[in-house]
Symmetry: C2
């Protein structure tokens, strides 16, 4: 009903009346509205009512959510493709080893890919997966591209959440070639650790984004009286 703009930017019916209208209890209505409120679509005002916030519908890429690279590129109206850049089995980079809690002896698979939008390179991504997680034989082609399916099929692992550090960075010579941009131009660098539902780190990624193509936004709610 909100999507059909039956209320526009205006006020929603009250909780009791919505409950009656939809034939459910007020608790159920509240649960749904709380979810929409947390995502920012609804704004609730104690004593006054609940209002639609069309604002946030315009946000393209929300940082709090994890997207498939290919979907992200499609969503911005481009065709997506992947170019595989390298695959290694051996001692991982120190940052990756630390994040994945690997010892000096442990090995890992390191795979790197470039994602293109309409044949323009826009994301460079390096993924590191601990070798001991791999349970089944696999073809190296399975690591040419998105790796989450590999984790599920060959490691019986599923990423439940990420902790992502967002950093600004500048393209060095290598990155400028990979992403076809000028050396020194600014890039998003996301350093991401993926955890399974047992809180074990199962994948480490470094992702470089060309900022001209992606706009990352966050809805930040105020908690105290803050300054800025």
């Amino acid at each position: 009903m909100i999507q059909e703009k039956q209320f526009g930017e205006g006020r929603l019916p009250s909780e009791p009346s919505l409950a009656k209208l939809l034939g459910v209890s007020r608790g159920t209505i509240r649960q749904a509205m709380e979810q929409l409120s947390k995502s920012g679509l609804l704004v609730r005002k104690h004593g006054a009512g609940t209002y639609v916030n069309q604002q946030v519908l315009n946000i393209q890429t929300r940082l709090e959510e994890v997207y498939d690279f290919v979907e992200m590129i499609h969503a911005s109206g481009h065709s997506a493709s992947v170019v595989h850049k390298g695959l290694e089995l051996g001692a991982p980079e120190t940052n990756a080893a630390k994040a994945l809690r690997l010892g000096a002896e442990d090995e890992a698979i390191t795979t790197s890919n470039v994602f293109l939008a309409d044949n323009v390179p826009v994301i460079y991504c390096v993924d590191v997966i601990p070798a001991h997680l791999v349970k089944h034989a696999y073809l190296s082609e399975e690591l040419h591209g998105p790796v989450y399916t590999f984790l599920e099929n060959r490691c019986a692992q599923r990423v439940s959440y990420n902790i992502t550090e967002v950093r600004p960075t500048a393209a060095d010579k290598n990155l400028s070639q990979l992403l076809a941009c000028l050396a020194g131009s600014s890039l998003h660098l996301f350093i991401e650790i993926g955890f399974n539902s047992d809180n074990q780190p199962i994948i480490f990624s470094e992702e470089y984004y060309r900022p001209e193509f992606f706009s990352f936004k966050v809805v930040r709610k105020m908690i105290p009286s803050s300054s800025g």
Copy 2:
């Protein structure tokens, strides 16, 4: 009880037993646990139990939350101070005007400040406030520093939420002087629009952070089976 590590990284008592233990109903317990689960402190497993995730307690600065600059600096163990850089009343910059939905005739207050940690400049911030919001007389000194109190005291406005765009950028000559860093070095740029609870934009900010001093992290939950 979680903070006192009564459960460590382990499993919490079940919902019914916690409810009995604390003398409340199960619904109340669930509501509390849902909040902690959304913030990432708890991980819930259907049919299995609820587990503590000490991981996220280590995150210093969470991007989803809005912090006072001064508090942020204190939290990282430094002493904070502010240097005022400029104050203007007049036509705002085009981006600001657009974000604040101002017409060609409308005026705005533009104030800029540098925040220091142990006397090292670490944040440069430009705030734009529509002039028509100002309801009371004020001293220009009130705009030397955090502006949220100004919004409350002189505009009777309170920011309810922000939409922040995160961008990588490089220091130009001006920024490199303001932040005492090399020209061309990478900086966080946050472009932030603050809204009141009526969804009206009331403040526009551009914030530049020296990335050596701040580490912004986000907990991103998986929704579908995604790729990366």
